[in-house]
């Protein structure tokens, strides 16, 4: 008999107090103060990316932006646990994960500026093109993990999705396949309490972490605003996967502090009081408090972190504004990997059409 995850895994209270939890402590025992400071920097930087991108959107430089505000610990704690040969299959909100994977900052914005449909080459950073179709990527991760198992590799796939996504058939089918084939995949659900305007209670009648055990997948319910707890949970999943133990499901309980996207107005559907309550559980604040209590939150750290954030934001803005528009005929590129007679005909048709304007302008060559 498999148990539902009874406990809510927390290693760091909102006040920044490191609490002991016997089953989880060993998994983060090696984390040094320096590493904590590095994750603090990560979180400050990705929050800054978020702020900058939101500003760019307001200024008309981006079409849309999905903020991750509030979910920094969930994303940093998990992504910083991965190896470079692991592979990420995410949704649209995992910009902090992309950051950890070493993405070129500008690449994060290509999609939201409308310049391209994906920003980066998945194989360069070990992270697939994000899925906008809710839940679809969980099957891709499971398939990738099947391949990793066939290859005899100990690489692991991790898939990020939201609380809303758990209602989609695909996510459930992914759990069926992952359990049947016992493949190395981590289902990482960021339960940020909302799917646009729908509260998590509409999607799941019980805690989300309770879903997986019935599929034969052990699950962990973790404080998603506690970077250490998230790291411990992810490492447990990775370790299990690398050692042939199959899939793990992690529910990271967090909160979407911002709107769904810059197009959304959450005051239409949720109470400000709820946001205020979650502000007290801010993931960055509690790590800062811990660092402070360890004597590590120095003016130097603060300055260095701010400098990094400033530099990244500047690079991001410059990259965004400097991004060239794609050339018209690229609209036909890469539909197929090999030539396609019908499409080639259409490309020629459109090239002629465009050229007719040049001709009319007297600028034809």
């Amino acid at each position: 008999m498999v148990d539902f995850p009874a406990e809510f895994v927390q290693l760091l209270t909102p006040d920044g107090v490191r609490t002991a939890l016997a089953d989880y402590d060993p998994w983060v025992a090696d984390v040094t103060g320096e590493q904590l400071a590095a994750m603090y920097e990560d979180m400050i930087v990705v929050r800054r990316i978020d702020t900058e991108a939101t500003a760019l959107q307001r200024q008309g430089e981006l079409g849309l932006w999905p903020p991750l505000l509030g979910q920094e610990a969930a994303q940093i704690g998990s992504a910083r646990s991965l190896r470079s040969d692991d592979f990420v299959f995410s949704s649209y909100r995992e910009n902090a994960v992309a950051y950890c994977r070493g993405v070129d900052y500008t690449d994060i914005l290509r999609v939201w500026r409308g310049s391209a449909q994906s920003g980066w080459n998945p194989f360069e950073i070990g992270m697939a093109s994000p899925a906008i179709i809710i839940g679809a990527q969980t099957l891709h991760a499971t398939g990738w993990a099947m391949g990793a198992k066939f290859d005899g590799s100990d690489s692991v796939a991790i898939t990020y999705f939201g609380d809303g996504a758990t209602s989609e058939g695909d996510v459930n089918e992914a759990m069926v396949f992952a359990a049947s084939f016992q493949v190395p995949v981590i289902f990482f659900c960021q339960n940020n309490q909302w799917a646009i305007s729908e509260p998590v209670g509409l999607q799941a009648h019980r805690n989300i972490a309770d879903r997986a055990p019935g599929f034969g997948i052990p699950s962990i319910r973790v404080d998603g605003n506690d970077v250490l707890a998230v790291m411990a949970a992810t490492r447990i999943g990775l370790d299990r996967a690398r050692n042939g133990g199959g899939p793990t499901f992690i529910e990271a309980v967090t909160y979407r502090m911002g709107p769904h996207t810059t197009a959304d107005d959450p005051t239409k559907y949720r109470d400000v009081a709820e946001l205020e309550a979650w502000r007290a559980k801010d993931p960055i604040l509690r790590l800062q408090r811990l660092l402070d209590s360890m004597g590590l939150f120095t003016p130097e750290l603060e300055a260095k972190t701010q400098a990094k954030a400033d530099a990244v934001a500047a690079e991001l803005r410059a990259g965004c504004i400097g991004m060239p528009d794609p050339a018209p005929l690229t609209v036909f590129d890469n539909v197929y990997a090999t030539p396609h007679t019908t499409l080639d005909g259409q490309r020629a048709e459109y090239a002629d059409y465009l050229a007719s304007f040049d001709a009319a302008d007297g600028s034809s060559s």
Binding site: G63, Q117, I132, I133, G164, P199, R270, L343
Partner: protein, 345 residues
């Protein structure tokens, strides 16, 4: 797990519906709201299902206010699962309801495709008429809004190729109102396509059922070329006809309105008169509605055609990134080029 006090599931009817009684100027989006409100007021079996249609009023605010007016048993915020939205609508229809499903964006209809194609479309046939499927599926469709992937698709031809469904697309506030009311009262399942980039277009809307939703309508009369379109491109086609007139070509613009069945009587009469057909849509060319209409009109009017019909459509590509969409979507210039082609100029 917290359900906030604003959870639509706990909300109940509080306001009385205020329906349209006199001609009123409304946006296309608000005329859909008005039609929903009227249909719900008229028939307690009309229920709405969809993602974020409750407290938020839908991502396009089309259902705004309806939860407050009709309560959570009539305006049902569903979990995030399109197959279930359609599949539970089938069950509700079995129980005598007339569900109206909202698919948030065109590109999200595919997870519900099986339930539409294998169940909604076939159940009346399968049961020899015993079970009716009076289900309306509302789909905001088309591009031109600079959106991310999957938010600008034109999937209508998948459904016009599916026997058992009716498919309509609206282009103006009055039709949006009248045709939705007809769709909801229809005992057949109807795919109702809403031109999302025209949601803000305004027009006077009378609370009438108007012309049958199966009829095509001549928007601009003309004599040289028949220009057929539907949904978001109707205003563009009208403008193209004006521009063509300046160049001495008289273009008759037809708003198809019904994509399945197509009103061939109206199309045929026009093409017999003009001898020339151009059809334009955002959807990709191969397998699109344009080809079907070209084929059918060629079959019916072969001896009247003075030139090969011309299609002005999206290319055979996945919908491109926002910065490229103007190179995919037919616009006034491409329509005029199509008119020139069919005129042999």
């Amino acid at each position: 797990m917290s359900i906030t006090t604003l959870n639509p599931m706990t909300a109940n009817a509080v306001r009385t519906p205020t329906t349209l009684t006199t001609p009123t100027t409304l946006t296309l989006a608000k005329s859909i709201t008005a039609a929903l409100r009227q249909s719900m007021a008229d028939d307690p079996k009309v229920v709405l299902l969809g993602e974020d249609i409750g407290a938020l009023g839908g991502v396009f605010r089309v259902t705004d206010g309806l939860l407050a007016e009709f309560g959570a048993n009539r305006v049902i915020d569903t979990p995030l699962a399109e197959s279930a939205i359609i599949g539970t609508a089938v069950g509700l229809a079995y129980r005598g309801y007339r569900p109206v499903c909202e698919i948030q964006f065109d590109g999200f209809i595919y997870p519900g495709f099986d339930q539409i194609v294998s169940q909604v479309a076939k159940l009346h046939y399968r049961t020899q008429g015993a079970v009716k499927m009076p289900i309306t599926i509302r789909v905001p469709f088309g591009g031109g809004i600079g959106a991310a992937e999957h938010h600008s698709e034109s999937p209508e031809a998948y459904f016009t190729h599916t026997s058992g469904l009716r498919v309509i697309a609206v282009s103006n506030p009055q039709d949006a109102y009248s045709m939705l009311r007809q769709a909801i009262s229809s005992d057949d399942p109807v795919l109702y396509f809403e031109p999302k980039r025209r949601y803000h277009v305004k027009g006077e809307v009378s609370p009438v059922l108007g012309e049958s939703m199966e009829k095509a309508v001549i928007i601009t009369p003309g004599t040289d070329v028949t220009l057929v379109t539907y949904g978001p491109l109707v205003p563009t086609a009208r403008d193209a006809a004006l521009a063509a007139a300046d160049e001495g070509v008289s273009v008759e613009v037809i708003d198809l309105r019904s994509l399945a069945p197509v009103d061939y009587a109206t199309l045929e009469a026009s093409v017999r008169k003009t001898g020339r057909l151009v059809i334009t849509h955002e959807a990709v060319r191969s397998g699109g509605i344009g080809g079907e209409i070209v084929a059918s009109i060629t079959e019916r009017c072969f001896n009247y055609l003075e030139a090969a019909p011309v299609r002005v459509t999206g290319w055979d590509i996945p919908y491109p990134a926002a910065k490229l969409e103007s190179h995919h979507l037919p616009d006034l210039d491409r329509m005029l080029a199509g008119v020139d082609r069919v005129m042999g100029r």
